[in-house]
């Protein structure tokens, strides 16, 4: 069975019959289509979301300077190098649960879950789009920080894996929250709580020494502080203490979230 459309010389005249396809080339094909789907689906919102993230990052950088008149360079460096983490995580952890909650509420969730693509392509396509949305904010926040506080940051190659991994972990955590939690309300609450923990209870924009001992200890196992560490070590020359361990922690969180997410979307009631 094949559908033959109106003949045109030299072009593919028929549409392929449905088959169960597999293999890396198929995966890439499906991935590319899903990236396009995500971009079109969110085409009206992505520019705004990207701007919001820029405002978030740059606003934080500038605002802190207003609040505390004099900020010593080490503190400013710590702060500014932590902000990219906030931008990267917001995209994955806040946007996706909201998007999926809206899909559930509006009834379009089932259509999307029945699309003939491997689930991993949908997830990786969203990862691509979320990362792309956050990158301008990361760049601008860092630039703003360097300019405002006269910092000396270095763009080392280690920045690439740091950003890729941080964003991936944020996206997978958001994916897990969005798909594993059926009630949109609870999903929203969880993602708001996580972002709150990120902002206020993790050594991302301020050092762990400011936290009570038990919280500092807990943060050795939570992902956010480690994310800040790996990004920071790629920007600040000579600061590499604990980077190896930090990578392991973040990667572990990515793997665990990935497993939960895979179970959540693959699991049928």
């Amino acid at each position: 069975m094949a559908i033959v459309t109106s003949p045109a010389a030299g072009e593919a005249r028929s549409l392929p019959p449905a088959a169960a396809r597999a293999g890396p080339r198929y995966w890439l094909h499906a991935y590319r289509r899903m990236v396009v789907w995500n971009l079109v689906d969110l085409r009206l919102q992505l520019p705004i979301l990207a701007s919001v993230l820029i405002l978030q990052g740059a606003g934080f950088v500038v605002g802190i300077g207003l609040l505390f008149r004099h900020i010593p360079e080490p503190t400013a460096t710590f702060l500014v190098t932590g902000i990219p983490v906030i931008n990267l995580i917001t995209a994955g952890l806040i946007f996706e649960p909201q998007i999926v909650a809206d899909q559930r509420s509006s009834g379009s969730y089932e259509f999307l879950q029945s699309m003939p693509v491997p689930r991993s392509t949908a997830a990786m396509a969203w990862y691509t789009v979320a990362l792309a949305t956050a990158l301008p904010a990361v760049a601008i926040s860092l630039a703003a920080g360097v300019a405002r506080y006269h910092l000396h940051l270095v763009l080392t190659p280690a920045l690439v894996p740091a950003i890729l991994l941080t964003s991936l972990t944020g996206v997978l955590m958001g994916y897990a929250v969005a798909h594993a939690i059926r009630a949109p309300m609870v999903a929203r609450l969880v993602s708001v709580t996580l972002i709150f923990v990120l902002f206020g209870f993790s050594p991302v924009t301020f050092p762990a020494s400011h936290l009570p001992a038990w919280l500092a200890q807990a943060n050795r196992w939570l992902p956010f502080g480690s994310m800040a560490t790996i990004v920071r070590s790629a920007l600040v020359p000579g600061m590499t203490a604990g980077t190896g361990r930090a990578y392991v922690v973040v990667a572990a969180w990515a793997a665990a979230s990935g497993l939960v997410a895979a179970w959540a979307v693959g699991h049928r009631r």
Binding site: L42, L44, Q45, I48, L49, V52, L53, L55, Q56, G59, F60, G63, I64, L66, L67, T90, I94, F95, Q98, I99, A101, D102, S105, S106, P184, M185, R188, L189, V192, T193, I195, F196, F199, G200, F201, F206, H210, L211
Partner: protein
């Protein structure tokens, strides 16, 4: 029975067009039932969001500052309820409004034979009431964390309710005004921290540079904090009249904006 007359199953006359304040009151009460039923889903989120933000923010600020003087601590604790109210308004109310948008509930509500002002009044009543427990819990938690004693004034309850109403109205108006639910939530969630961090709610307005302090003499956040602070402290808050006046202006603006959004036909 005259030929051609339609008789409904209940045997009563067909619905007439309701007018007047009695109809408004009846509609308001009916919508109250609707909103109270919906609060069952939303109350946990409200309380949790408020406690998280209110008490949490108070605690976080301590992390940023390190050890602090008793006056500073009092300022933080007396400002925490305002943070809780703002969090409830911005995150809680807006989530509810956008959820209703996405599920099509607003279309259903606006098609009901009730005056739209009654709908808004009912929603604001119920969701303001939902703000109170979280605000109180926040105050208790913060006071305990910083070991501060508060002097409750007799008008504390009134202060809190009015402030909560104002915050809820503003959150409601804001969420209605922004059409896209995803954008609304993204904007609010991403920026709430900045708003809370850079508003003189848990620290005196004098700490801000001139232009930012000036901005906050127009924006509602500072005044919201002052009004709530007045209910639990003595001698700390001056110019309460101005605070109420500005807040009233913002609340009316929020109501007007809501009315305009609801009234316009696309």
């Amino acid at each position: 029975m005259a030929a051609g007359e339609i008789v409904s199953d209940t045997g009563s006359a067909p619905p007439a067009v309701g007018r007047g304040y009695r109809h408004w009151l009846a509609s308001y009460l009916a919508m109250l039932r609707f909103d109270i039923a919906s609060q069952r889903t939303w109350l946990p989120m409200f309380v949790l969001t408020q406690v998280l933000f209110g008490a949490g923010m108070a605690v976080i600020y301590g992390f940023y500052l390190g050890p602090m003087a008793p006056q500073e601590a009092l300022f933080i604790v007396s400002g925490a309820p305002a943070i809780a109210a703002i969090a409830a308004a911005v995150i809680g109310v807006s989530s509810m409004v956008t959820e209703r948008k996405v599920a099509g509930t607003w279309d259903f509500i606006w098609s009901l034979p009730v005056p739209r002002s009654a709908v808004v009044a009912s929603t604001l009543t119920v969701y303001t009431a939902m703000t109170i427990p979280g605000v109180v819990a926040t105050l208790a938690l913060a006071a305990w964390r910083y070991d501060v004693h508060l002097s409750l004034s007799p008008v504390a309850a009134l202060d809190f309710v009015l402030a909560a109403l104002m915050a809820t109205s503003m959150g409601f108006g804001l969420a209605l005004a922004i059409r896209d639910p995803l954008v609304t939530n993204a904007v609010l969630n991403a920026l709430i921290f900045l708003v809370l961090l850079f508003s003189p709610v848990v620290y005196p307005i004098t700490q801000l540079p001139g232009w930012l302090a000036g901005a906050h003499r127009v924006l509602p956040f500072y005044y919201l904090a002052q009004v709530m602070r007045a209910g639990v402290t003595t001698g700390l808050v001056h110019g309460l009249g101005t605070a109420y006046a500005v807040l009233a202006a913002w609340t009316v603006a929020a109501w007007a904006a809501s009315a305009w959004v609801i009234g316009r036909r696309r």
